[in-house]
């Protein structure tokens, strides 16, 4: 009963930095509180009624003193701001090697899926030392993904991707909470993050029924929902090929100008749900909308698949429209493939619906 924890565990790469900044601010707080306490009790005792002590000409103002207790708190406050701002930037700058795990928050459960395809509800098994980058979205209200032991938290918004990263450094079982009030079972919408050694993690991966990997499942959905019918190899309909597209600027026709938009998750998700917006230059807006047919998880899987084929070399020139600075967009015609990576004069549209 009495072995209850006073301090949380420190189990992620950013936790030590967090604890340093936290205890620094606690120290500043304790110092100021004790300073005020001593000042008040000391003065109250020394000058209490009845004590014979010099009370002549009590000072009623002193510019020096006022400057002192404006300047000193300001300097200390700025130091606190500096330290915590650096920590904040560190908390939200994911490293390159992070494994991406899609997370979907739904009223009162978390649905996660490993790249290898394993799906988990309210549970997350991770190898120690491997940085993880969570790409999160909510299906209904605002939730918030919080793992106290890793000192990280990020609200999960409906309609917009939010991101969070951490690198677990200690093997163990840590609690996961939802910290943005989301309705009836807000308090049970949590679970566990299980950090295991690399070997245990592989054994755990293998034991469970080896479901398809995220990418394979994405490919299956890609075919099942007739995406391949237009975007696949032997496509009869004239639709942009998706190989080598992810993460690169895509030319789109806006009025009489051609602008480029970054083909990131947001763009692909919008294109699936609302295909007639930001159509690729040189193509007709004929794609049907999948609004309401694909759940958030399926969307994330399809995006994972498109991301996987994103690094395959761009296919033959046949199916790609040729963009030429002066002659503008040419319909897809037998011309040597253009270089997707370095289009001339790329002007990126502001991320409007971010």
């Amino acid at each position: 009963m009495w072995n209850f924890p006073i301090l949380p565990e420190s189990a992620s790469s950013v936790a030590p930095d967090y604890d340093f900044a936290f205890w620094y601010e606690v120290a500043v707080g304790v110092f100021f509180t004790l300073f005020v306490l001593v000042l008040v009790l000391g003065l109250a005792n020394r000058y209490r009624r009845g004590r014979q002590v010099d009370r002549s000409h009590p000072p009623t103002h002193s510019l020096k003193l006022e400057a002192l207790w404006i300047g000193v708190p300001l300097v200390i406050a700025m130091s606190m701001f500096g330290i915590s701002a650096v920590l904040y930037i560190k908390q939200f700058s994911p490293p390159g090697d992070a494994v991406e795990i899609p997370v979907v928050g739904k009223q009162w459960m978390w649905k996660l899926q490993h790249p290898e395809g394993k799906k988990e509800i309210n549970e997350l098994h991770l190898p120690v030392g491997q940085a993880v980058r969570l790409k999160m979205i909510s299906q209904d209200v605002i939730h918030s993904f919080f793992i106290p032991a890793f000192r990280v938290k990020q609200d999960v918004l409906p309609g917009r991707y939010t991101e969070m990263w951490f690198r677990p450094t200690k093997i163990g079982r840590y609690r996961l909470f939802c910290t943005e009030y989301c309705g009836t079972d807000h308090s049970v919408m949590g679970g566990w993050v299980e950090v295991m050694s690399q070997a245990d993690y592989e054994r755990w991966l293998a034991t469970e029924q080896a479901g398809e990997s995220l990418v394979e499942e994405g490919r299956r959905l890609f075919v099942l929902n007739h995406c391949a019918g237009c975007h696949g190899e032997n496509a009869t309909v004239q639709a942009p090929r998706l190989e080598g597209v992810y993460g690169r600027p895509v030319p789109i026709q806006v009025g009489d100008r051609v602008e480029f938009v970054q083909a990131d998750d947001r763009y692909i998700r919008d294109s699936i749900l609302l295909p007639k917006s930001q159509v690729v230059a040189g193509y007709q807006p004929i794609m049907p909308s999948y609004q309401g047919q694909l759940s958030e998880e399926d969307l994330l899987k399809i995006i994972a698949y498109i991301k996987a084929i994103g690094n395959r070399p761009a296919p033959g020139p046949a199916a790609q429209p040729q963009y030429d600075a002066d002659r503008g967009i040419q319909p897809a015609v037998e011309v040597p493939g253009y270089d997707v990576d370095k289009p001339p004069g790329a002007t990126l549209l502001p991320e409007q619906t971010r």
Partner: protein
């Protein structure tokens, strides 16, 4: 802070002011808590200015929502706003400016104390206010028949706009952004309309009071304070008109 009772107060005996009867001092009645008329007038004006500050921020919340929304979906806003009738809006602005002019004259006349002119000017303002609401009603019924009222059953995006937006590479009902313009349009003009309506009611009461107090000429403050409110309602429309009606009117396809 100690109090020294002034010599003259002690001299003429101790009985303080009789509680809560307004004491007149020539210019007009002064409520018991005020010393004299200028103090009462200053208080009334500062009171109204504070109230107008709350109104500025009340409309401010809506304007902030409008600014954020217009930054998010500029093209939808431009295309949707082309359905608004600029001419009727312009007439409406003239009506309000004329009514503001009449109120300014009414305040000047009120200080000169001729009640008859004040009442005439106020009635003129009320007529113009009703005209303003009439024109708004005309606009809104036109919008209704076009199916542009978002919370009405017959809401549908005009096909004309669908093509323009598609041609500009934007899916009209992308997350309902097009519809949001009409939501904000009706909220802002509706809220402004309610304030015009309240203004008409207040002017009617004030006109009656001015006529009632025409002999004692004690209505200058009343007219001036309600005049401030009406000018504020006019200023709101001065900002609403360009923000809602005159967006990219030069572009093609409008």
């Amino acid at each position: 802070m100690s109090v020294e009772s002034p010599a003259h107060a002690a001299a003429h005996g101790a009985v303080g002011h009789e509680p809560s009867q307004p004491h007149g001092n020539g210019h007009g009645l002064v409520a018991h808590q005020f010393e004299d008329a200028p103090q009462q007038r200053e208080a009334a004006l500062l009171g109204m200015w504070s109230f107008l500050a709350t109104e500025v921020l009340f409309f401010g919340g809506l304007i902030t929502a409008y600014v954020v929304y217009r930054w998010k979906a500029p093209v939808q806003v431009a295309v949707a706003s082309h359905h608004l009738n600029v001419a009727l809006g312009c007439i409406n602005t003239c009506v309000l400016l004329v009514s503001s002019f009449l109120v300014a004259l009414a305040v000047a006349e009120a200080h000169r104390g001729n009640a008859r002119k004040v009442v005439q000017l106020l009635i003129g303002t009320i007529v113009l206010g009703v005209a303003f609401l009439g024109i708004k009603a005309v606009e809104w019924t036109a919008d209704y028949h076009e199916g542009l009222i978002p919370f009405a059953a017959n809401w549908q995006i005009p096909s004309h706009d669908l093509e323009i937006l598609a041609q500009r590479g934007i899916d009209a009902d992308q997350f309902g952004l097009y519809k949001l313009f009409w939501v904000l349009y009706f909220f802002m003009t509706g809220l402004h309309g309610i304030h015009v309506l309240v203004g008409l009611g207040v002017f009617a009461v004030v006109a009656a009071l001015v006529w009632q107090r025409r002999r004692s000429k004690n209505f200058a403050n009343l007219v001036e304070v309600t005049g401030l409110y009406w000018h504020f309602v006019d200023i709101v429309w001065v900002f609403l008109y360009p923000l809602l009606y005159l967006i990219d009117r030069h572009g093609p396809g409008h």
